[in-house]
Structures are given as C-alpha cells and as structure tokens.
C-alpha cells in the first residue's frame, strides 16, 4: 500500500484547507478514501460524535495535485481507506495558506501515519523551512469498505438553487436559537421557505425567484395535515422538517468558494444539500427528515 501526492499551487492549497476545515467543523472523525481518480472525505452517521449530518465530499485529484501516486493492496482493491480525526488534519493544514509546497504521504512510523510535509517560506529571509506533521490514521480493512459507499438515495422530488450561503446562515443561526427544528419548503415557482414554530411565535423566511433545477411532477400531500397554505398550489410544493443545527452546520461550508449550491428535497424524508466548486469538488450533505 503506497500513497504519495504533491500540491504546489496556492489556489488549490487554500481550497483544500478550507474543505478540510469545513469537514472538521462538521464532524470529529472522518474517513479519507483515496482512489486513482478522486479523494473522498466521508462522514457517516454511526461512527461519529453527536449525530452530525452524513457527508460525502469528492475531490478530483488532477486539479489539486501536481503529482499523485497510489498503490492499493492488490489489483482488485486499488483504493485506500483511512480513518482519522478531522481536527488533526485541519490543524496541521492551518499553515498551508502561505506554504510553497505540500507533500502527503502514507507512512508507517510506529503506527500508520499520514505524513504532511509542508515547505513554508521564511518571513525574514529567502530561506524555506520544512514542517513535518505525522498524523496518526487507522487503515480501514477491506471488509468494512462497504460501510463507506456512496449513500443510495431516492429520487428527489425537487431540486432548487439555494440563496447566498452567508445570508442563509445568518437566518438559520437566528432560528437555531429559537427552535431545534426547521421546516424547509420549496415550491416549483422558485420559492424557498424556512419556517420555525415555537409556543410564542411562528417565524418564516421566504426566498423568491430561485432557480428550480428539477421538479418531478405533482406531489402527493394526501396524508399531510391540512393547515398548509391554500393560496399556493400545494401539489407544486414539497417540504421536509430537519434538525436546525445540522442544517446550520452545512452552511459553515460557505468558506469554500463555490459555484452553486443546490438543495434537493425528498418530500418529508430527506434533504440533500450539494455544493459544487469550480475545481469540481462536490460536497454533499444528507440530512434526514424528522417525521412525527
């Protein structure tokens, strides 16, 4: 098993740091899957702390690394799965924003380690200095790989573009203090509503004129409570009730410079938030709906 990768451009290095730091905010532990084409950061529901959202992040290696070598266990199992503490990785990469070069290696130094060799320029002279971090990792055996496959999800009823994440985050952070659950409602007319209800108040924020990416026919609301608005054609709206904290956690991803963020809703069951960057990084977050 061998892995070696080199990063030299400042743009990707900054991007990579942001991605890792976002992931470290979402979860204590994560799985890094290395394959010949892509790097995957996977956070699954069971193996991590107080039920963070499930996360799937794909990073294409060719846009980030100038050199990338990987040798798996054998020809059949070419990938490498590593379990690591996400904060360890993000703290070690904190100095990467000013670095000249990053080398990532899989090493065995008493225990398996992901070794980061960072070359940073000196602030006082022309010299460079070499910083080496050995981050302990756990090599995940093949029989457990199946736990980290991309989650199979039902066809979403609607996919709608999200407004600017920063704006959305300030809204959600206010709501988070008031109510642990938020109802996300999307309509085929391009309207997104965030709604919370407390004993004292009902707060809803509407975002209009958003692009609807996909809409799969009229939505069956036959089993739902009848108090929904009658002004709108309810067959054209779908909704999902989710944990406000989890939703807010995903929104911390706004530090990654992104092209588009799409919110897909499986009516009442699941919200999928997907962030895509120019470098084809795809960060997906799966938040299961709360049903009473």
């Amino acid at each position: 098993m061998k892995f070696r990768a080199v990063m030299v451009d400042t743009g990707p290095m900054r991007e990579f740091t942001n991605i890792v730091s976002t992931i470290s905010k979402l979860s204590k532990e994560c799985v890094l899957r290395l394959s010949t084409e892509k790097l995957y950061f996977i956070v699954s529901e069971d193996n991590s702390g107080p039920s963070p959202p499930m996360l799937w992040c794909e990073i294409p290696q060719d846009t980030f690394f100038s050199e990338y070598q990987i040798v798996g266990v054998d020809d059949e199992y070419r990938d490498i799965y590593l379990g690591l503490v996400s904060a360890n990785l993000s703290k070690s990469l904190a100095t990467l924003k000013t670095a000249k070069c990053l080398k990532m290696k899989l090493t065995k130094k008493q225990c398996p380690c992901l070794t980061l060799e960072i070359e940073t320029p000196s602030s006082t002279s022309q010299q460079t200095r070499q910083v080496t971090h050995d981050i302990p990792v756990i090599v995940i055996p093949r029989k457990l790989w199946s736990e980290f496959h991309e989650p199979r999800i039902p066809q979403p009823d609607m996919s709608i573009e999200l407004p600017a994440l920063k704006q959305l985050r300030t809204t959600i952070d206010r709501m988070k203090g008031m109510c642990p659950e938020v109802v996300i409602r999307a309509s085929a007319e391009g309207r997104l509503t965030l709604q919370i209800k407390t004993d004292m108040a009902k707060v809803s924020t509407r975002f209009k004129d958003l692009r609807v990416m996909a809409f799969e026919g009229p939505i069956d609301h036959s089993d739902s409570e009848t108090e929904t608005q009658t002004i709108e054609d309810i067959s054209k709206t779908c909704y999902c009730r989710v944990d406000t904290k989890k939703f807010s956690m995903f929104l911390s991803a706004d530090q990654i410079s992104h092209n588009a963020t799409v919110c897909s809703i499986v009516n009442k069951k699941l919200v999928i938030l997907c962030l895509q960057t120019e470098e084809n990084v795809k960060l997906q977050c799966f938040i299961t709906g709360i049903v009473y």
């Binding site: 130094k109 225990c111 602030s123 006082t124 002279s125 010299q127 910083v131 971090h133 050995d134």
Partner: protein, 394 residues
C-alpha cells in the same frame, strides 16, 4: 525606593509583568543602586525569569529615597496576581498612562504603584508585601557551547505549527539546522498524538554557533510566554544552551535599558541513577524515541550516543571531591613502611567509593519497575523470592 517610569516604558513593564505571570505566581522585586530587578520562579522550580531594568529606563530613580542609611537596596516578594492588577491591559497602556511611580518603603508593608493617566486620573495600587527575601538562581550563560540569536518571529512562527495540547518541545541542533519537535512521552498513545517536526536552516538565524551538537527538551508553555514577550517588544532572542540536563537561557535585551533572562530546565533522560546498567538503558531509550520521531535519522545515532554518555559523565561531577590518581595510591599501599599515611589514603579512597547517590527522590518512583521494560530483560534472571504476588487475573 522611589522611581518614575515614563508612559512608553510603562508598556514595557506591563509586558514584562504579563510574561513573568506566565512563569510563576510570585514576583520578587529587588532594588539596587543601578537597577531594579524583577524575578520569578515557577511552582515546580523548572523555570526562572529575571528582568533587570537599568537606571536609564526610569525618568527618576532613587533606590534609597526613604532612608539614606540603607545602602543595600530593598527586596520584597509580592503575589503575581496583585501585580497583574496594576497592569491590566499592556497593549493600551502607553496611550492612557502618562507615568507610573513605584514606591517601596522599608518601614511600610505595602508596595505602591501610582499610575497617572490622561485627563488627571490617578490610580493607586497598594500591594501587600508577602516577604522581604530575595531569590536568585545560579546558571551560566556566557560559558556555553551553543549560542543562537534569532529574530523573535522565526521561533514563534515555528511554534504556531504545534498543537495547543503539546506541552514539551524538543530542539535538536547541528551545524546545518535546528529541528524542533513536539516531545512525545513514551506513556502517550501514539495513535492519538500528531508528531510535528520543523526544520529551520541555520542561515535563517542572525547568529548560529553550535559548539556541540545536542538535543534538549523543555516546556512549551514558558517558551511561548517568552516568545510573546520578545515579539511584543520587537526584540531579537538569544538562546544559550549546553547539553541536555543543563538549563537553557533565553536572553532578550535592549542594550542599555533592560535585560531579561529566562531560564528553563531541560529534561534529562528518564533515569538519573548512576549505575552503568541504567546508563545503557537510557541510551537505548533515547535511541528508541529518536527512531520514533524520524525513521530516517539512523545516521544521527552515533552522535547521539556520544552526546548522552558525555552528558552523563559530566553529571557525575555533581559533588565536589578530588580523585586521587590510582597509581599513587597503589604505590603507597605497597609501601608498608609508611603505614600511617597509607592508612589515611586508603581511608580517603574508601570515602571516594562510597559516594552517596545524588538526590533522585522525585524520579525514583518511575524507575521501580524499569527493568521489566528493558528490551534485554529476562524474567528467568530473577529467581527465588517473590516480592509481590501477581494480582488477580481479573
């Protein structure tokens, strides 16, 4: 004693107090005809700091203001917390404070800080004196092999790479470069700690003189405090050190006005006992650790062996006795006619052999079961009486 400190210098004093507060809980103040000295020692007595403010630092300085008879100068010990109260925010102090007056009267039991701020505000702090003793550490800074002068930035940038949970730093020096590592204790779980290593080329430092290659380990907390101090005052930092086990001295000075010495104890190898067997074991211990840090440092091993054994040799000179040349003793032993003298010589010789071991009370507890963990340990070698029964299997 009475002295006046102008506004800009109050900030320097404030920074000093804050740096010293990260060392110890008590502050020793001593006045002399030429200067004021501030000292502190940490609780475990492994870190000591001394800052000397010369006469020119003050706008008015009179060390025997209250009684002309007292030529010795005054000494006092105050609690660090109360000193901190007087210097709450050193960053803004130069803007708010016009001057600071410090008064110490031999008759009184209070040390008085009078801070004159802008807009005619006067703050007076009466600080209780806990003791009238002075404290001084003995260390050498001038006769050492290794001296490095570094811009304050280099080392603090390097320390930025370490985790906040790291508590000891290990510095390895050779003629080409200085390597900083976080020290990983053998008791730590390796699968949980990040091991970090930073190598800085010697060319980055202002001066870099290494007389003897060595590896020293000391606490990171005090190191951070003194780096913050050097950085706040924008002054370079001098490192003077010898080998492991001897203190490392950091010096920050501004030629004429003040000079700060920070002395940190460096950790010695695990066992300070002086039997040859344990010497060997410590060397292998260190070797093992060294391997852990850097798997490709094999070529450094021989150097390390020499270093450690040298330092252990030196340490055995902790007590004063003069070794008699053996051949003279033998010659005199053989000479029976001079019985009295030979008797006395033998007596002396015996004394020399019965050197009491150096006090190791703190470390002893760690080394009780040491042999069991040695790689060469053979359980068959201890036969006979069982000192302690095996505990229950559950």
């Amino acid at each position: 004693m009475k002295c006046l400190i102008p506004g800009p210098n109050v900030k320097v004093l404030g920074r000093t107090i804050h740096a010293l507060a990260r060392f110890g809980d008590e502050l020793y103040l001593e006045s002399s005809p030429e200067a004021i000295l501030l000292r502190t020692l940490n609780a475990s007595e492994s870190a000591y700091a001394m800052v000397k403010f010369n006469k020119v630092f003050f706008s008015y300085f009179n060390y025997n203001y209250f009684s002309a008879k007292d030529q010795e100068g005054l000494k006092c010990k105050i609690s660090m917390k109360s000193a901190l109260h007087a210097f709450k925010s050193p960053t803004h102090m130069d803007k708010q404070v016009e001057n600071l007056e410090i008064r110490l009267d031999a008759e009184s039991c209070k040390l008085i800080f009078i801070i004159k701020c802008k807009h005619g505000i006067v703050k007076t702090h009466f600080v209780s004196i806990l003791d009238c003793k002075a404290m001084q550490a003995v260390y050498t800074k001038d006769l050492v092999h290794n001296r490095i002068t570094s811009s304050q930035k280099i080392l603090s940038e390097a320390l930025g790479n370490f985790q906040s949970s790291d508590d000891q730093v290990n510095i390895e020096v050779n003629t080409e470069s200085l390597i900083l590592r976080n020290y990983v204790d053998s008791s730590m779980d390796l699968s949980k700690v990040i091991r970090t290593q930073i190598s800085i080329k010697s060319a980055e430092f202002d001066t870099y003189v290494i007389g003897r290659e060595t590896v020293i380990t000391f606490t990171i907390k005090e190191f951070r405090a003194l780096l913050a101090f050097a950085e706040a005052l924008n002054l370079p930092l001098q490192l003077h050190f010898e080998v492991t086990g001897k203190p490392v001295v950091f010096i920050v000075h501004n030629n004429t006005t003040f000079e700060a010495h920070f002395v940190l104890a460096t950790t010695k190898s695990d066992t300070p006992t002086q039997t040859s067997a344990s010497q060997n074991s410590t060397i292998t211990d260190r070797k093992r650790k060294e391997m852990g840090f850097n798997s490709n440092s094999v070529r450094k091993k021989p150097n390390l062996d020499v270093d450690v054994s040298k330092c252990l040799d030196e340490d055995s000179h902790l007590f004063d006795y003069i070794e008699m040349p053996i051949d003279i003793i033998n010659a005199q032993n053989n000479d029976c006619s001079n019985k009295d003298i030979s008797q006395s010589i033998i007596q002396e010789n015996v004394d020399c052999d019965n050197i009491p071991p150096s006090p190791t009370s703190k470390m002893k507890i760690k080394t009780i079961f040491k042999r069991c963990f040695e790689s060469t340990f053979d359980p068959r070698s201890i036969r006979g009486s069982v000192l302690a029964e095996n505990s229950d299997s559950e």
